[in-house]
Symmetry: C2
Subunit: 339 residues, 2 copies
């Protein structure tokens, strides 16, 4: 299907295509009357600007690339919603990609986004990501990069929108302690992922503040899936004695734990109190409802996107490694409600 071009409009009006282009872009080098003639003819012929051509010429794509581990995870889908919202307002398109937690895929995605000359990339890195060469290559190539949530520590010339995970971990743990817990298990993912490292650090600091021993046997590492939660709950009951609190680095695993504990008759929160992290929609609804740390995905998405848009306009913020720290909020619910 052949689409109308500015050249056809030009020919129809017997003027030059450069004038048509300027008319359509509302340049003041074209007089009002001509603009109107061009607009009318454009409508008549059903013209829509070919952005591929426009972008090529202007050497920008008007597009932002977004990379998340998994689109369907609530936190990420709400982040995306926030990003899209901001980008839309600013006239940008958003290409969404999911790494599915695989670095190889992440690598390919980045190179694809670069080939498509996206104006910038927003990324929450995969759990597997240890080698960051694809990301540094990106920056060296001049594509601005903004991390949100899962980031790479110490990477220069990038923006970051992070949740204060240390604080979140601290507050959740402190809350458990204040509710009387003395032996608190921490469920986490590999500690070389920044966010988990930090939540763990918050956990440690809280124990320290209240003079509780840090016992590394109480720190259980997994992928934090619901099944992991199930499995680890069984392990806790069988192998660890006297555990009275669990702080899980995400809600999913916490819910897995709760399911298992409920099925075995353990009382929550009386026997074991539980706190999660993320505030998944499910957590408000499960019984007992789950105490958790809220991190507003939409807000983080908006902030990350704004950081990038700001860079497009002013151009000097990212090179200063701007980091925006979002304060998480402890949501106290029934899973820790002891008097």
């Amino acid at each position: 299907m052949k689409k109308t071009t500015i050249h056809e409009i030009a020919k129809a009006l017997n003027i030059d295509s450069s004038t048509v282009s300027r008319a359509l872009n509302d340049s003041d080098r074209v007089k009002a009357k001509t603009k109107k003639r061009v607009m009318d003819k454009a409508n008549e012929l059903g013209y829509t600007r070919n952005m591929l051509a426009s972008n090529l010429r202007r050497n920008r794509s008007n597009t932002i690339g977004v990379v998340v581990p998994r689109i369907s995870r609530y936190f990420f889908s709400s982040t995306i919603a926030g990003i899209e919202e901001m980008a839309y307002q600013a006239g940008y398109n958003v290409i969404i990609c999911q790494s599915l937690e695989e670095v190889d895929r992440e690598r390919k995605i980045i190179s694809n986004l670069m080939a498509n000359r996206v104006d910038g990339i927003l990324i929450s890195v995969s759990m597997e990501t240890q080698d960051h060469s694809h990301l540094t290559a990106c920056v060296e190539n001049g594509t601005p990069l903004v991390f949100f949530d899962r980031h790479v520590a110490g990477m220069k010339h990038t923006g970051k929108v992070l949740i204060d995970d240390v604080r979140g971990g601290f507050e959740a743990t402190e809350h458990l302690i204040q509710k009387g817990c003395q032996k608190i298990v921490h469920l986490t993912a590999p500690l070389d992922v920044e966010i988990y490292k930090n939540r763990h650090e918050g956990y440690r600091q809280a124990l320290e503040k209240y003079n509780l021993d840090y016992d590394k046997n109480l720190v259980l590492v997994s992928k934090l899936s619901k099944a992991d939660g199930n499995r680890l709950a069984a392990k806790i009951l069988k192998e660890l004695d006297g555990v009275d609190g669990i702080f899980s680095a995400n809600d999913l695993a916490a819910i897995g734990v709760m399911d298992y504990l409920k099925s075995t008759g353990v009382k929550i929160p009386e026997d074991i109190a539980i706190a999660g992290f993320s505030n998944e929609p499910t957590s408000a609804v499960i019984e007992p409802s789950l105490t958790t740390v809220d991190q507003s995905g939409e807000e983080i998405g908006r902030l990350a996107c704004n950081l990038l848009l700001d860079y497009f306009e002013n151009g000097n913020t990212l090179v200063n490694d701007r980091t925006i720290m979002v304060q998480p909020k402890l949501i106290v619910r029934d899973s820790t409600k002891r008097k």
Copy 2:
């Protein structure tokens, strides 16, 4: 930041850029040795193909546009995940847009996607969408269109991936009847939206089959938000007498209803049994867990994307108005578990 082009590779090797282009595309018009030299030089110079230029020349964008009402709704985010998965495998990018249920926005989005010359569009239309001119324009313009879930009935030359909503509505209602419900309220959204019309039709057919009267006072129309569920539950208790079953056209409203009923001491399912539609993750977790109709988002996304990809390859399926009907599955849970 200046990026390497094929011309620079060509100059460095003292050959023509057309040969470089062919070498990079593995054309058999270039001999193996030359290909190797080109590849090596490309790596050396850090070349990445400019897809903007390539796409312009080849008059395609390698991109699929996706329009959903709201990204963060679980059903849609899982659809997107399915779409992205398929598109990625086939080497396509996915531009995601959310209409936020506003037609105006939907209209702008479509025109933007066309300007970006996406190769095809996958859309689940907004609730507001009554005037379809922007969609027909799209088709007339030669951009293939595939609807999923929320579609426009009778639109020619488009593909459709639909859930058999009539059947889903029927099964949910029949199940309530078999559980002894005699006076069943149906919560729905405006009936000019196809999916709601069809779920309602299933409801009606089930009543008919079991010789129950269809009473239009029992059909409550709203936007099906959680708040709507709350409000309508109050209304049901106050204004309608003897209601013993509720079939809600989505889970969200059903959950709103449950919250309200639980707070007023109404027993679920003993006093009122409840069935929803969509199988949101929350529904498995709420207490009592919610009986609902499952529609696998990922599956629908994959099917819709495949329909489009198939059209790209074979080119003659959409004009036959291919419709793929996905069978929903009733998930029986505690909210209807009477003996």
